[in-house]
Symmetry: C2
Subunit: 349 residues, 2 copies
DNA sequence: TTACGATGGTAACACGAGTTAGTAACGCGC
DNA sequence: GCGCGTTACTAACTCGTGTTACCATCGTAA
């Protein structure tokens, strides 16, 4: 093939073809205000640009303007774990994508552990590769993030963070969990177990556990430590948690599981031990991952608006980059209790 | 804050601080070969760079070198549908991410319908925003893609495509489907229905349907048109397909569903009609989306290596960009039949 | 001494845009 | 017909980097 760069369309090339200077081409193509170019010249230039299939060079424009029209979405998780989280990730990602694309922005994705790319945030911003960052569930001890917060960098966090200066988009984990447990209480349950979605040092997990306690206390029910089991985001951990609950002898008629994937494991284990859901034990999940409605029984769970979370976060980030004031820097989106078939009144009620 | 750009670290700044020219700084930081810089000067420059927290400007470097170390992953699907596909997307994406990050590449993500961004491929390449493209399941009539193929642009397709010049990474859909159906045949089933994952103009769906036919024919079994139903990627479509199968009266003892999400709907509908799985009817799925192993019964299905697909595609693309010859431009990754509890010999066998 | 080759650099140009300051040509009023 | 203002541009600088071509100094061999 003939060396491709020989034909590469640049403003210079357009200028030659239209018989004007490159400056004029720039004025016309950018519709620069306060510049008078007669319609005839304008048409000539636009025609030339079209004929040459001109597309502005991103690097050159970015260098000249100092802007990239690009944001990065960072999930600080090793790739292996990513595919587990992926159920949720896909929704959030597509929301972000839709939001930023609507503004003509582009989206860089990074699914990489903190230790594998230690200075990722700073490098991206300092190298001018992006105009802003969107971070999902940063670790509580993320020092790099707190530094950025201090410098007023354009960063939005999905989830919660200890740096309170940073704007966040999240759901109200505690209130949602409380609603889930209250549903069980309203059905007549008094001995309600809790299997967490993951370890308690994960802020969302801890807040859902708090919602569980709050609901019990508000109803005057005791919090029984033996009825608390930890999951680790996998179905297998649900299997183990349910077995542990059954083995220890402390009776219960319902389980609040703060993650649907874990809940599937819980239900599987209950069944294998001959415990019927919801006849003997009711189960409430959390997340409403796609397709849990097609299980048998359909899982009662808290619907989490994954796509909206992403959309809102993306939207907010672009606005911050554009210099607009953000009215509410800590957005909490609505969740919804979806009642399906995995919950019922307790056997003896 | 003091205007941040005043302190922005550039090579010029480093040069001043180290008492050398900018050229020398460039030589040292890039380790340019065939240039002699004594260790003392070298140390002075590196120290200055460290003190200033220097990070090279991406746009400037990209403009000068003509490379971006960036690739785009494009899923030509409207965002709404993306979150349905997301189960699969997350795995592929994390594979791509891992692969390109390993080469120091960055990843742009686009989940946008063809009509919403008509010249996306071309714009990305011509604007020099990326060095190459990775496209998932392009439409069969994607003219833009065929043009790129002709020009020898660095593009890798995940899935299949009508442009045979483009390298692809995929699984062998027909052979995998055939294996699934053969599993049923080996169990003794003779009347096997097929519910597709989506419309037949989607190449993967068509190839899986072909595998179904192949298996039947190879076993000397007739292909009964009434036992064929179309899904549309949703659980609901599985519910409807199964109902239709039951209603029409043509008997069957097994169903091959070429997508797990649809299979869940199928199973749900069967149960609601009092048909036991696998006792009355066996069901085989396709995809092995996370957690189907925690269903009751666990779904027998074809495991599809999502992450590996992404990894392989990303790896191949970077190699093409680097100018390496690709030994095998049409990679087919291994799938595996995972036998769980949703399949058993037919009732009368 | 002259020539030659390393050694250790630097000046200058390129990449492709955005942007500021300035200017030639023309029309018009007085 | 002189001055002034508007119209329609353009020259020249900027962004931060990669890269080529060149140059001064020093040591050494002929």
């Amino acid at each position: 093939m003939p060396e491709p760069d020989a034909k590469r369309a640049t403003m210079q090339r357009i200028a030659e073809r239209a018989g004007v200077s490159r400056t004029t081409v720039s004025f016309v193509l950018n519709n620069t205000p306060d510049v008078n170019i007669p319609a005839k010249t304008r048409q000539r230039i636009l025609a030339a640009a079209r004929e040459l299939n001109y597309v502005p060079d991103f690097a050159a424009r970015s260098l000249a303007t100092g802007r990239t029209n690009t944001v990065a979405y960072i999930v600080r998780t090793p790739p292996a774990k990513l595919s587990v989280d992926s159920l949720f990730l896909g929704g959030v990602l597509s929301g972000i994508s839709a939001a930023v694309n609507a503004y003509g922005f582009h989206l860089l994705f990074y699914g990489i552990a903190s230790d594998a790319a230690p200075n990722l945030y700073t490098s991206l911003l300092r190298s001018q590769r992006v105009d802003g960052l969107l971070v999902s569930w940063p670790a509580a001890n993320d020092v790099e993030l707190s530094e950025l917060a201090g410098q007023g960098a354009p960063v939005v966090v999905h989830g919660s963070t200890t740096c309170d200066d940073l704007p966040t988009v999240d759901i109200d984990n505690a209130a949602s969990a409380r609603a889930a447990v209250e549903h069980l209480i309203n059905l007549g349950h008094r001995r309600i177990a809790h299997v967490t979605n993951g370890p308690l040092d994960h802020p969302a997990v801890a807040m859902r556990a708090k919602g569980y306690r709050d609901a019990l206390e508000a109803a005057g029910l005791p919090v029984i430590e033996q009825l608390l089991q930890l999951g680790n985001f996998t179905g297998q951990s649900g299997v183990e948690a349910a077995s542990a609950l059954l083995d220890q002898g402390e009776p219960f008629t319902a389980i609040f599981v703060s993650g649907d994937v874990v809940a599937l494991g819980v239900i599987k284990a209950l069944r294998q031990r001959g415990v019927r859901v919801p006849h003997d034990v009711s189960v409430v999940g959390f997340d409403d991952i796609p397709m849990v409605s097609y299980l048998e029984p359909g899982l009662t769970t808290i619907h989490l608006p994954a796509q909206e979370l992403g959309f809102h976060a993306g939207d907010m980030l672009v606005q911050i980059i554009s210099g607009e004031e953000v009215s509410n820097p800590h957005v909490l989106l609505e969740t919804e209790l979806v009642v399906r078939e995995s919950t019922a009144p307790p056997p003896t009620a």
